[in-house]
Symmetry: C2
Subunit: 260 residues, 2 copies
């Protein structure tokens, strides 16, 4: 959608703790969502109803360190004023990291790629401090096998095997440009970058990577499951609390290029 | 104290999220403390009242990644059984990382040194995800000046300037073997190691280091305040939520050496 005439479009970058939220997307009244609380703050600030369009519709319990969203307002202000005022008006589990005025050609949904992080806490004893931030997996995981499996994801593929039953995307094809696991202290971090993601795609992939890491599947078996395009063959879905939307990248972050 | 005859002494290593606790030390009934909840779990397990002696009496809201404690029981079990059973019986914000049988010569209080970490979140925007785990300082901090100041702490000194008014230690002299700051992402981490600590010592030091980092004091002024031995000259105390008891080191972790 284009900005109304007389309206100015802004891009926001947001960090949030997903624990308390029923995801990003505004729902029925009374359901607390990130989009909902930020729209409420924007309405108080702008004096008119505001529609906030997010790059990624993160699910219930999923966190973000770099969600991007845009909105239009007829009440233009310096971007710095939006950052300061929104951080006063939003609850402490949502932080606005950045605001910028963009042209009407910018649309938060039209990202070149998104990057997600999934944190697996791989120590035997459960984490007391990080318990709402990671998935605790007490057993040993074979990082080498998991990385071999993850490499199969890179490229343009049909991700039907890792797609939620109620996913509403028109096509199951996505292009993954990065998929790797590395050890960070007691944790295994899985980073995946793609042009876009299907509903529950990262958490379904992580579930199947962990089945591989536990030695129940070889990397070849992971690949067979992936190419079966059959969700029922995949592993159990990993929980939401380990997932972070880290970055959203745009070919044209200011929206200045002519629309093709 | 020595173990009773017939009793076996165990050493526990503990991690906890201090947010919900009125510190380590057991207090009046109804006040939730870490010592209290672990002692309750041990009583259920051992069938008799248990006294848990901790290496560091962490304050309200202070976290631990490596607290050490000991207790005696007449109901001996494999250490592994204690780890598993305690992690079922204690709440999720307390985790037992390790248990070991030690001789009666071991006393958790008699540590060679303790190490604390203090996390300062130095980004302008408040942290949505780490908000209960760090001290947010939105302004710029001069790490070089802070490190110069911190170096003055190393060695055997009278720490009266950084001691709480109600500190009950017999002497204000402590020996610091390490005190350094480093940048970790958006955070500044202060690590300090000493034979022992006075009440509120780390948080008072961090408060004065931040005054230095803001440019209000030179490292020389920090040193003057330190050697004034006057708490009223020092900076404001840093909040509890950024502080972590990281490690407790013993010359004799099994308690086997003859007592001197």
């Amino acid at each position: 959608m284009q900005a109304e005439s007389g309206a100015v479009r802004y891009r926001l970058t947001l960090e949030y703790d997903g624990s308390r939220f029923s995801g990003w997307q505004r729902q029925a009244p009374g359901v607390v969502t990130v989009q909902g609380v930020v729209e409420q703050a924007l309405e108080r600030l702008c004096g008119h109803p505001v529609l906030l369009v997010g790059a990624g519709r993160t699910d219930t319990g999923v966190h973000a360190k770099g969600q991007v969203a845009h909105f239009d307002t007829t009440c233009a202000r310096a971007p710095e004023v939006f950052v300061r005022a929104l951080n006063v008006l939003t609850p402490p589990d949502v932080t606005v990291l950045d605001a910028a005025e963009v042209s009407a050609g910018f649309n938060a949904r039209r990202a070149a790629w998104r990057e997600y992080l999934y944190r697996i806490f791989a120590r035997r004893a459960a984490p007391a401090l990080e318990r709402a931030r990671v998935w605790h997996h007490p057993g040993r995981l074979d990082l080498e096998a998991m990385n071999q499996a993850a490499q199969r994801l890179v490229g343009k593929h049909d991700f039907s095997a890792f797609r939620a039953a109620n996913c509403q995307s028109l096509t199951p094809v996505r292009e993954v440009s990065l998929a790797e696991l590395r050890v960070v202290g007691d944790e295994i971090h899985f980073v995946i970058r793609a042009n876009a993601f299907l509903y529950h795609m990262v958490r379904n992939i992580v579930g199947s990577l962990v089945v591989t890491g536990r030695g129940r599947w070889s990397p070849e078996r992971f690949d067979e499951v992936f190419h079966s395009l059959d969700r029922k063959q995949a592993g159990p879905m990993a929980p939401a609390q380990g997932l972070y939307l880290m970055r959203v990248h745009y070919a044209d972050p200011a929206g200045n290029l002519p629309l093709s």
